[in-house]
């Protein structure tokens, strides 16, 4: 992609009212832009990152045999009345009416619709266990949206739902998804700890949330020797402070053993040939658009973002020191054509300082710098966002470049 035409734009100054690093960097690096309070447009750089995260998640969910579907965003109030959550959800729910004055909401979550859907179509069959998942936009009318993409009114989630005959079955499905989540987070390059949590208005048997350490976090926790996290409530502070580091973290996933909380109320029954009983259900949310700022929280320095390779919007940025030098532009163009879509070509007529600063800010892992001085020696510079550089001869450039890249993986 050519920088000049890419709709990537960066800012020098930290916007007002920004408290967290990720919020600052998502705005300054041109990842996202607020359209109205709590509703963000994701710009091209951010969209590329989200797509990479999505692909990793989809692959891992497919690997555990989960089935992808797409549920509508608008949901009828009658579903939520059945589960008893229409009134509980309160102000946080975006409600609307259609032409016939029937009430709808913008889905804050999809348990009700999943149960209804499985009930209508699976009762005759004996096909549990099953895990269904989707990527979709969710809505919660937060009183105070804040922290950029960390707490918004509209966000992208990957939500999964499991259905089993027995509590033991639920435990197995739960472990399967939990293990997949741990793999996904490690592939994406995010540190997070599963921590027993309170089920809240979701209800059910038990739940765990995955807290990712971040300076923007609103929860405090410690990591026990077993590697398992423990969330600190007010009274715990005095007990642990001083003994071991207290971390702040942000919830990025939440897994629930809902058990029969929804199936019993909404009539999703199954049978073992002798008696009928409500299905055992689990639900597993993963905040895709929240993982993005968390990656930034965990991977940055004072100059900008340092994207992990697995989710970087581009692998390489090609920077011309003098765009108006025809030889420089010609060589840069040639390299760009060779590298193809994995490269961003900074073809702007800007001062080199501006270009280097932008490259650091948007955090592309590899940089190839084409300048007239280097070309005199028939070389370009190959630098890494994480530090270090090397000169590469233009003879056999692609071969050498790929070799170095492979070695550094």
């Amino acid at each position: 992609m050519r920088f000049s035409k890419s709709f990537i734009y960066t800012r020098r100054e930290t916007p007002k009212d920004v408290k967290s690093i990720s919020h600052d960097l998502t705005i300054r690096a041109g990842i996202a832009h607020q359209i109205c309070a709590g509703h963000y447009g994701i710009l091209p750089l951010g969209t590329l990152v989200l797509k990479k995260i999505e692909n990793i998640v989809r692959q891992e969910m497919n690997n555990i045999g989960a089935v992808e579907v797409i549920l509508p965003i608008m949901q009828s109030s009658s579903l939520w009345q059945e589960s008893g959550r229409w009134d509980i959800y309160g102000e946080e729910m975006f409600k609307l009416v259609d032409r016939q004055k029937r009430e709808f909401c913008l889905g804050p979550t999809h348990e009700e619709m999943m149960v209804q859907f499985v009930k209508d179509h699976a009762q005759k069959t004996k096909n549990f266990p099953i895990i269904l998942f989707q990527f979709g936009t969710k809505f919660r009318d937060e009183k105070r949206p804040r922290g950029g993409l960390l707490r918004t009114r509209e966000f992208i989630m990957k939500d999964a739902y499991s259905f089993d005959y027995t509590p033991q079955g639920l435990d197995e499905s739960y472990q399967k998804v939990r293990a997949a989540y741990i793999r996904i987070l490690s592939l994406i390059g995010v540190d997070a700890f599963p921590i027993p949590a309170i089920t809240g208005e979701m209800g059910g048997r038990s739940s765990e949330e995955f807290l990712a350490p971040s300076s923007a976090g609103e929860d405090h926790f410690i990591v026990l020797e077993s590697g398992i996290g423990k969330k600190l409530e007010n009274e715990d502070y005095t007990k642990y402070v001083g003994e071991q580091p207290v971390l702040t973290g942000t919830e990025i996933c939440h897994c629930f053993k809902l058990s029969t909380r929804y199936s019993a109320k909404m009539g999703l029954f199954t049978n073992n040939g002798k008696e009928i009983f409500p299905a055992e259900m689990g639900c597993y949310g993963m905040g895709i658009s929240r993982i993005l700022p968390i990656i930034i929280e965990q991977n940055h320095d004072e100059r900008g973002i340092i994207w992990p390779r697995s989710v970087a919007p581009f692998e390489t940025i090609i920077i011309t020191v003098q765009q108006d030098n025809s030889k420089v532009a010609e060589i840069a163009e040639k390299i760009y054509v060779q590298l193809g879509e994995s490269a961003l070509y900074d073809d702007r007529f800007e001062r080199p300082g501006v270009k280097f600063r932008d490259a650091e800010l948007i955090g592309i892992p590899d940089r190839i710098i084409v300048g007239s001085k280097g070309l005199d020696k028939n070389i370009v510079e190959y630098e890494w966002r994480s530090g270090g550089k090397q000169e590469v001869s233009l003879d056999n450039f692609l071969e050498i470049y790929r070799k170095i890249k492979e070695e550094r993986k």
Partner: protein, 389 residues
């Protein structure tokens, strides 16, 4: 995909009297989508595969042509669209949220132009060409399956251009994208000029359509054939953000808007690829490339051989459907594979196990026998031309 492991095995069937069903009804009867409420589609696994394939083809083609992808929120304040005076065009079709009177995005031009005005300040940044694939919402009166739903998927594209020439270039690039996408999706559409050369629609013939077109020359004609729009573009002479141009003055930029209806594309594919036995899906979006049919699921030897075939095909990207249902006859299974347009069926029964062979039946008629299951791979892949993909 193993049918026995699907939550909705009852959805895997050839719908009764399907040849007399209009495509929008057939889509639902095929188990591609259901509607929890009229106008709001829920895409089941096979429908989801189709949506993702079409999205991916459009996405790749748009990227190749130099468009960047972004994602605008689904909710917007109504003043964006009120300011441009277009709110009236959508009269009565907005969904308003109850507590804060926001609208669900019916379209996104205004929001994008507003966003662009924050990022573009120099003519050197133009043209800017972006797209997104996202849900849109319109509170319409009479939804019709996925063909016309209240919540629907669209790919909308926008260009911001310096002048008329650049705008025309953007339009030409979009025309090329349409051509490539329709070629890959094997959709035949006619390009029709609406009002002036600023407004172009790509139409396909279908009985559900409420636009009428006659051919040769292609034009709107009230006594023409029922058609519907699958893609369109509209060029605004003005309407873009102000920016400083080379001579130092401030000038308003031009805007072009372009779009594909994702659901309309899928509708058109099915409409145009129905044959006597089912839907002969184009290879680019075909949900399954092969079907492994097991005659008796309760025979361990047959199961073993079939699993073996299934796994080989799965690994080779031959997208197998594993028809391991116990309560269906061989004919029902063969008919289902034909209905989904699956080009090759691998049949495993008592005879095949005894002879260590499999029977291969192609949708286009050939029947072959191969001596060992593990060898079927090369034959099938060669014939499917999927080797190395």
């Amino acid at each position: 995909m193993k049918i026995s492991h699907q939550l909705f095995p009852d959805k895997f069937k050839v719908p009764e009297n399907w040849t007399s069903l209009q495509t929008y009804k057939l889509f639902e009867k095929m188990g591609l989508a259901i509607f929890p409420k009229a106008g709001f589609p829920l895409f089941l696994p096979v429908g989801q595969i189709l949506i993702n394939s079409v999205n991916q083809i459009i996405r790749e083609t748009a990227y190749q042509a130099g468009f960047s992808e972004l994602y605008l929120p689904l909710v917007q304040t109504p003043n964006f669209i009120e300011e441009t005076g277009r709110a009236e065009q959508f009269n009565q079709e907005f969904f308003y949220t109850c507590n804060n009177k926001l609208i669900l995005a019916p379209t996104n031009e205004e929001v994008f132009v507003n966003l662009a005005s924050k990022g573009i300040n120099s003519y050197r940044q133009l043209p800017v060409r972006v797209f997104q694939i996202a849900d849109k919402f319109r509170n319409i009166k009479k939804p019709k399956g996925i063909f016309r739903s209240k919540e629907f998927l669209m790919c909308d594209m926008i260009s911001i251009d310096l002048n008329k020439e650049m705008l025309n270039d953007s339009a030409k690039i979009f025309e090329k994208i349409v051509e490539e996408v329709f070629q890959k999706l094997e959709i035949e559409a006619v390009r029709v000029t609406k009002h002036s050369d600023h407004y172009i629609e790509y139409l396909v013939e279908c009985p559900e359509g409420d636009i009428y077109v006659s051919r040769n020359p292609d034009r709107y004609n009230p006594s023409g054939k029922h058609s519907s729009s699958v893609a369109m573009y509209f060029l605004f002479e003005q309407g873009g953000p102000f920016l400083s141009v080379a001579d130092g003055t401030n000038r308003r930029s031009y805007v072009g808007t372009y779009g594909f209806g994702i659901q309309r594309c899928i509708h058109a594919i099915i409409e145009q690829h129905r044959d006597g036995r089912g839907i002969s899906f184009p290879v680019s979006v075909r949900p399954f490339n092969s079907s492994v049919i097991i005659m008796d699921k309760n025979e361990p030897e047959q199961n073993k051989l079939a699993e073996n075939c299934y796994n080989i095909l799965l690994k080779s990207n031959a997208k197998p459907l594993f028809d391991d249902r116990a309560d269906k006859t061989l004919k029902e299974k063969l008919d289902l594979a034909d209905f989904y347009g699956i080009p090759v069926k691998i049949i495993i029964g008592k005879k095949e196990v005894a002879n260590s062979t499999v029977t291969i039946k192609w949708r286009n008629g050939k029947t072959e026998e191969d001596s060992f299951a593990s060898n079927i791979l090369s034959t099938i892949l060669e014939n499917l031309q999927l080797k190395g993909t």
